[in-house]
């Protein structure tokens, strides 16, 4: 009896963690579908939404604080799209900055200059990073005739790093958490001996609503259908009078809004700090691949599945190996079923690249 209860307890905590992966993966999908880009700044949208909600929750009611978190993240999503995706494609200094920021983070993470005064180490880091950024940009320009997806992915990695560093300066390195929506951290509902936090119900409810809402949006609204058309054949969509550029910006907004919402509802249980975004991005990406890129419903299932898997993994192996397990799972899937667990082969071949 207790054995079964324990198993359920693991499943429950896995679902809580998996929910956020699911939503991040859905965010990946929304942008991937409309642009073919994997937006690695997706995790930062989640963190930004949570952080802003936490800050405002000190003064405002919870729902208003979360609404503001979503609003800020949406605006930021639009900004990222307009500045970095729309114009950085045409404006190479911006791309150079993105590349430089990647190198800078690698240099500071390696601790190469850590024996120096912090200010000096930053300066040395920059001294290494900037030429690399400029050089990388030069090579990209030189060897790539067409703007391509790889370039844009590099840009999103750069945006993710820039965002993370900015959040570090605004909120510091502390760990924050939004207050529980219902009760406190120790409030539980007992279902047949399994203890569930009401927050988990909020989280699962939110994920369900997001998936259902997106389904209805893409299936029944004119803008939703237009977004599907843009993802299928951008030029044909433009020939129908659809403003594809605007819809791409909209997909960033949608994806940021959903990420922010997820960041806010999971924050009470998982807490939030400025650097969580990258692990969200890695796990969310795994989930998106696991489900088959582009399929939001599959992403939701795959997210919950990965959460539960992880939860059992930590019961068996030390939790520091968790990431290793995740990566092994991803490699196995890529190897045996490149179109994802639920991916349909035909749909992939319909994609343009």
């Amino acid at each position: 009896m207790t054995g079964i209860v324990t198993i359920f307890q693991y499943i429950i905590s896995g679902l809580a963690q998996g929910s956020i992966y699911a939503v991040v993966a859905i965010g990946f999908n929304i942008i991937y579908n409309s642009t073919g880009i994997i937006n690695f700044a997706q995790g930062e949208f989640v963190v930004l939404g949570a952080m802003v909600s936490i800050t405002f929750s000190a003064i405002f009611p919870l729902w208003a604080a979360i609404a503001m978190g979503i609003a800020v993240a949406s605006l930021y999503g639009a900004l990222v799209e307009i500045v970095f995706v729309k114009y950085a494609r045409a404006f190479s200094p911006l791309r150079a900055i993105c590349l430089a920021s990647i190198v800078f983070i690698l240099v500071s993470a390696s601790g190469l200059f850590s024996f120096l005064h912090p200010v000096l180490s930053i300066l040395f880091g920059l001294a290494v990073a900037l030429p690399f950024g400029a050089g990388g940009e030069f090579l990209l320009l030189r060897f790539q005739k067409e703007q391509n997806v790889l370039q844009l992915i590099i840009i999103t990695i750069g945006v993710s790093i820039l965002t993370r560093e900015t959040m570090k300066h605004v909120w510091g390195k502390d760990v924050f958490a939004l207050r529980y929506f219902t009760g406190t951290a120790i409030t539980t509902i007992s279902v047949g001996g399994v203890y569930i936090s009401p927050q988990l119900l909020w989280v699962l409810g939110t994920v369900t609503l997001v998936v259902a809402g997106l389904y209805l949006f893409y299936k029944y609204t004119l803008v939703g259908k237009a977004m599907r058309a843009v993802s299928l054949d951008r030029k044909a969509a433009q020939l129908c009078g659809i403003n594809a550029r605007l819809l791409v910006t909209l997909s960033f907004i949608l994806s940021a809004a959903i990420g922010a919402l997820a960041g806010a509802v999971t924050s009470p249980q998982t807490s939030t700090d400025y650097k969580m975004g990258s692990s969200f991005a890695i796990n969310g990406f795994t989930v998106a691949i696991l489900g088959g890129l582009g399929n939001s419903f599959a992403a939701a299932l795959a997210g919950l599945l990965l959460g539960v898997l992880e939860s059992f993994t930590t019961a068996i192996v030390p939790s520091s190996y968790k990431e290793v397990v995740v990566i092994i799972i991803m490699l196995l899937i890529l190897f045996f079923k490149p179109s994802g667990l639920f991916g349909k082969r035909e749909e992939r071949t319909l994609k343009e690249f």
Binding site: L222, L232, D233, A237, Q238, L239, C240, G241, I242
Partner: protein, 244 residues
Amino acid sequence: MLVVRNLRSGYGSIAVLKAVSLHVGRGEIVVIIGPNGAGKSTLLMSVTGLVAPFEGEVEFEGRDITAVPAEKRVGLGCVLVPEGRRVFATLSVRENLELGAYHVRRNGLGREVRHDLERIFALFPILRKRERQMGGTLSGGEQQMLAIGRALMARPALLMMDEPSMGLAPVVTASIFKTVLTLREQGLSILLVEQNARRALSVADRGYVIETGQMVLEGTREELLNNNDVQRAYLGKDYSAINE
């Protein structure tokens, strides 16, 4: 209706069109014929705004639209049925048609879309039967009808068609050309690009011949049908037949 002046266009550093000019009058059917790679599709895409011209002007209903973005041109009534049909494969036939009416609905004329839809179904009854089917599952001919229907949902004044008969059986081609005539009777102007020169000229008022990015010939249907070069190169007559 449409006036194109000295259009130079292409892709990046590749120049395709070298100073091309043409015009389409109200209610006219104008065809453009020419060999593969001559730049016919590039010309139509430049008129839609999806390919940005290097130089030259595109004027539509007396207005210079050279700088108007592609999606806005659709709203003005300048609509293309693209080469290869390009229907939205995983959207239903009905959704494809609804998206054709995107700007109509965005401009608050949603009520009229149902009426337009009925018109398309009357023109192509097969589409009504296939209403719920995915666009990608239709036959080639049905997809061509869907592509035309989608373009008509945008309420064009000028309908451009890029090789509508490509890969279709003669019967289907014939019915597509019949539709073209019907549409003209309803008041549309039509600019048609075709490989099937004989067929195209049979419905046309005027025509142009484009070769390697340049207009080499222009004339009325009779002039083109009787032109020796056109007969030899596009109507499949050999020297002896022409010289008799």
